[in-house]
C-alpha cells in the first residue's frame, strides 16, 4: 500500500500537527480517495493510539494531539467525503447539562470520540433540555452524550431525555451519560442507552452504537 498512507498513520500516532495538512493534500494529489485516506491512513493511526492508550503506554495529552491531527486532516476530507456521501464513523452531540459548569469530563469524551473518527458538536456547559432538542434536530447526531458532576444536576439528564422523547427525536439517537455521581442503574432508571465510567469507555461505546 502507498507510502504516504503509512506516513499519515505515523503522523497521527506522533501527534505531528504541523505536517498533517500538507500530507493530506499530497495524498489527494497522488490520487488517493478521501475514503482511502480516512480508512487506511487516519483510522489505523488512531486505532494504534487507542491500543497504546489502553495498554498504558500513551497518555491523554498525546491522545489529544493525535485527535487534533486527525481533526486537521478531516477538515480537508470531510467535504469530499460528504460529496461522495461516504458513511463516516458518526456524529456525536455532546454537552454538560443544565445547572452544571463542570465540563472537563465532557471535554475529554468529546476529544476521545473525535479521535475515534466522530464528527463532534460540543454544546458546552449548562445546556438546557430544549437546547439539546434544537441541536439534535439541526445537527442530526447518531449519539448524544451528556455529562453531570453533581447529584442535583444529574436530574436534568432525565429531563433532557424526556424532552427528546416529547420532541419525537429520542429514537433517532442513542444517549450516553457519564460523570462522577452517575451509575449504570441511574442510566437505566432515566432511560439512557448507556453509561460510561470514563472517557475511553465512552468513545468505545459510541463506536459500538454506530457500527
Amino acid at each position: 500500500m502507498s507510502e504516504i498512507l503509512s506516513e499519515i498513520s505515523t503522523c497521527v500516532i506522533e501527534g505531528n500537527v504541523d505536517d498533517i495538512e500538507e500530507l493530506t493534500q499530497d495524498a489527494l494529489e497522488e490520487g488517493l480517495s478521501a475514503e482511502e485516506i480516512l480508512d487506511k491512513g487516519l483510522m489505523p493511526g488512531m486505532d494504534h493510539v487507542g491500543v497504546e492508550f489502553k495498554a498504558g503506554n500513551m497518555f491523554v495529552p498525546e491522545v489529544l494531539r493525535s485527535a487534533r491531527v486527525m481533526h486537521g486532516s478531516m477538515e480537508i476530507l470531510r467535504p469530499l467525503l460528504t460529496a461522495s456521501d461516504v458513511k463516516m464513523t458518526g456524529k456525536l452531540l455532546i454537552g454538560t447539562v443544565k445547572g452544571d459548569l463542570h465540563d472537563i469530563g465532557k471535554n475529554l469524551v468529546g476529544m476521545m470520540c473525535e479521535g475515534a473518527g466522530f464528527e463532534i458538536k460540543d454544546l458546552g456547559k449548562d445546556i438546557a433540555p430544549d437546547e439539546f432538542v434544537e441541536a439534535v434536530k439541526e445537527f442530526e447526531p447518531d449519539v448524544v452524550g451528556m455529562s453531570a458532576l453533581l447529584t442535583t444536576t444529574m436530574r436534568s439528564m432525565g429531563h433532557t431525555i424526556k424532552a427528546l422523547e416529547e420532541a419525537g427525536v429520542r429514537d433517532k439517537v442513542k444517549v450516553i451519560i457519564g460523570g462522577a455521581p452517575v451509575t449504570q442503574s441511574f442510566a437505566e432508571q432515566i432511560g439512557a442507552d448507556g453509561y460510561a465510567s470514563n472517557a475511553a469507555a465512552a468513545a468505545e461505546m459510541a463506536k459500538k452504537f454506530v457500527s
Binding site: F59, P61, R68, M111, S197, N198, A201
Partner: protein, 500 residues
C-alpha cells in the same frame, strides 16, 4: 531585555528541621561531658593503650576492660582530621556513594536471622541463596543505592558466615556494599576478597568498594571485636560505620534527647580512637536509635520515635560534619501489610527530608529480625514517591504559567495546551504498582490488592534471567577464601547442626 533576580533565596528542595542549632549544641556539649566525666568501657587492651597515649584518662582496669574518659580537647582534635566526605564504590566502580552533607542514598539492612520466603511467604532462617536473591533484587530496584545482606547466611559454617554473605552479595549486585564481620579475621578475609574482586591491593587505594559495619554496645561499652575492627579498618583505609543501637528506656535514657546524648558519646569515642590511630580515617556515624515499646518490651523499628530520633541525630552529624548512617524502610509488622506500609512511608519521608546520607534497613520487618523482599520492593516505590515531593516547587515565569492561564481563561481546560503536553511526563509521577484505574477497570484486571501486585513484581524480578556478575574463575578464587576460613575455624563449630 530579561532582568535576572538577585537577593532571591530559593528552596530547591523542601527543608526539614527537628532541632534548633542551640539544641544541637546542647546535646553535643552534654555528650562531651559524659565522655569526659562518665567515660566508656573498653574491652580491648590495644584500644585502651591508643586512647591513653592520646591523652585519655584510664581508670578502673579489670582483667578484661578499662574505663576510658576523654577530655573535650581530644574530640576537637579528632574532628579536625576527620574526613567530612566519604566515598564508597560499587565492586565494578560503576556505582558510587558520595556521603556528605545533603546527599541521600537508600539501601538495605543486614544480618536478620529470619526471612520471608518469597514463594511460600513462610518465615524461615535465611540462606546463601536468599542473600544472593536479595542482592539481585537490590541490583534491579532503581531507588536502592547501596546494599547490605538482609539475611544471615545460616546454611554454611556459623563462625565464618560473614565471608559467605559477602560472596553472595558480590554474586548479586554491583552497588556499593556495607559489610558486617563476625570478628577481625572476618574483616581480613573480606578485605582479601575485595582485593581479588578489584584485581589487586593497589586498586583499593583508588577507593574502597565496601564499608564496614561496627556496632558498639549501649550503654557506653566497646567490646573486643568492635575495637579490633575499628583499629584494623583505620589502618587499612576501610570506611566504617560506627553505630550504637541505644534503646530508649532500656539501654539509654527514656528521653529522646538523652538517648541522642548517649549515642553521640558512643560514636565520638569511635571517632577519637580512629583519628588517634590514623588521622583521616573514614568514619560514618549514627545508626539505629529507637525506643523500647513498654507494653511488649520489644525494640521498635517502626516507631515514630525511631524516625524522629534518627532525624535529630542526622542534624547533629551534619553540624559536626560527619557522614550519617540513617534508618528507614523498616517496620515492626511481622509481614508486609498495611502497618509495614504506614511505618515505612513515614520513616522514609523523614529520612529523605532530613537528608541522612546512608539510609539503611530498607526491607526490615519484625523489629529487624526478619527481612522481606516484598517490603523492599514496595519501599522502592515509596522512596520514588517521596523523591517526587523532594523535587520541591520551582517558582519562575514558566512554572507560574500566568500567560497560560490567560490563554485558557475562565472555564477553559489545559488538556491540550503545549504547557501541559511538554511537561506532563516530568511533572506527573508515574506509579509502578500503585493502581489508579477506575473501579470497573480495576475489577476487570482482577481486583488485586497492592500486596498481590508487589508479590507478582517480586517474583518477576527473581525469575528474570540476568548475566552472572562474577566469571567462573573470579567466583572460584573468592569462594576459596571462604573455604579456607571454614577450615581455619572448624573447631569453633558445634557438633550439632544449628539450623538445618
Amino acid at each position: 531585555m530579561q532582568v535576572l533576580k538577585n537577593n532571591y533565596l530559593v528552596n530547591a528542595t523542601p527543608t526539614f528541621e527537628v532541632l534548633s542549632e542551640d539544641e544541637i549544641e546542647a546535646i553535643y556539649f552534654a555528650a562531651l561531658r559524659v565522655l569526659h566525666e562518665t567515660g566508656v568501657r573498653v574491652y580491648e587492651k590495644e584500644g585502651v593503650e591508643v586512647a591513653y597515649s592520646g591523652g585519655a584518662i584510664v581508670e578502673d582496669t579489670t582483667d578484661d576492660s578499662s574505663l576510658v574518659k576523654m577530655p573535650p580537647w581530644m574530640v576537637d582534635r579528632a574532628l579536625a582530621t576527620l574526613p567530612r566526605k566519604v566515598v564508597v564504590y560499587g565492586p565494578d566502580r560503576n556505582n558510587r556513594m558520595e556521603l556528605f552533607k545533603n546527599q541521600i542514598y537508600f539501601g538495605a539492612g543486614s544480618d536478620t536471622p529470619f526471612t520471608i520466603d518469597p514463594y511460600t511467604s513462610k518465615r524461615r532462617r535465611a540462606t546463601y541463596q536468599d542473600v544472593k536473591n536479595f542482592a539481585r533484587v537490590a541490583q534491579t530496584l532503581p531507588n536502592i543505592d547501596f546494599h547490605m545482606s538482609l539475611g544471615i547466611v545460616q546454611d554454611t559454617a556459623v563462625g565464618t558466615y560473614d565471608r559467605w554473605q559477602y560472596l553472595a552479595m558480590l554474586e548479586g549486585t554491583t552497588k556499593p556494599i556495607n559489610i558486617t564481620a563476625v570478628d577481625l579475621d572476618g574483616v581480613r578475609d573480606q578485605l582479601e576478597m575485595a582485593y581479588i574482586r578489584l584485581g589487586g591491593k593497589e586498586e583499593w587505594k583508588k577507593g574502597p568498594i565496601f564499608s564496614l559495619y561496627i556496632e558498639p554496645v549501649s550503654p557506653l561499652s566497646h567490646s573486643e571485636e568492635v575495637v579490633q575492627k575499628l583499629l584494623f579498618a583505620s589502618d587499612n583505609d576501610i570506611p566504617f560505620v560506627y553505630t550504637p543501637c541505644p534503646l530508649s528506656g532500656a539501654t539509654a535514657p527514656s528521653t529522646l534527647a538523652g538517648t541522642a546524648v548517649q549515642a553521640l558519646t558512643e560514636s565520638l569515642f569511635g571517632i577519637v580512637l580512629s583519628q588517634l590511630r590514623k588521622p583521616g580515617a573514614q568514619v560514618i556515624i549514627g545508626g539505629l536509635m529507637s525506643n523500647m515499646d513498654m507494653k511488649t518490651a520489644v525494640y521498635c523499628y517502626g516507631s515514630p520515635e525511631m524516625a524522629l530520633l534518627s532525624a535529630a541525630y542526622t542534624q547533629i552529624t551534619k553540624w559536626l560534619g560527619v557522614p550519617e548512617y540513617e534508618t528507614a524502610g523498616c517496620s515492626d509488622a511481622k509481614m508486609f501489610d498495611e502497618q509495614a506500609a504506614m511505618e515505612a512511608t513515614i520513616n522514609i519521608s523523614t529520612a529523605a527530608l532530613i537528608g541522612g546520607n546512608m539510609i539503611h534497613d530498607v526491607g526490615y520487618i519484625e523489629q529487624g529480625l526478619t527481612s522481606s523482599m516484598e517490603m523492599m520492593v514496595a519501599s522502592d516505590e515509596i522512596i520514588d514517591m517521596v523523591k517526587r515531593i523532594m523535587r520541591g516547587i520551582p517558582v519562575n515565569d514558566d512554572t507560574k504559567a500566568l500567560d497560560v492561564m490567560e490563554d485558557i481563561g475562565p472555564g477553559g481546560h489545559y488538556l491540550e495546551h503545549d504547557h501541559t503536553y511538554n511537561r506532563f511526563r516530568t511533572e506527573i509521577w508515574r506509579p509502578k504498582m500503585i493502581d489508579r484505574q477506575v473501579y470497573e477497570n480495576w475489577e476487570l484486571s482482577g481486583s488485586k490488592t497492592y500486596r498481590q501486585r508487589v508479590h507478582e513484581r517480586t517474583i518477576e524480578i527473581l525469575e528474570t534471567e540476568t548475566e552472572p556478575i562474577l566469571d567462573e574463575a573470579m567466583y572460584k578464587e573468592l569462594r576459596r577464601i571462604c573455604e579456607l576460613a571454614d577450615e581455619r575455624h572448624k573447631d569453633e563449630e558445634l557438633d550439632v547442626d544449628m539450623f538445618s
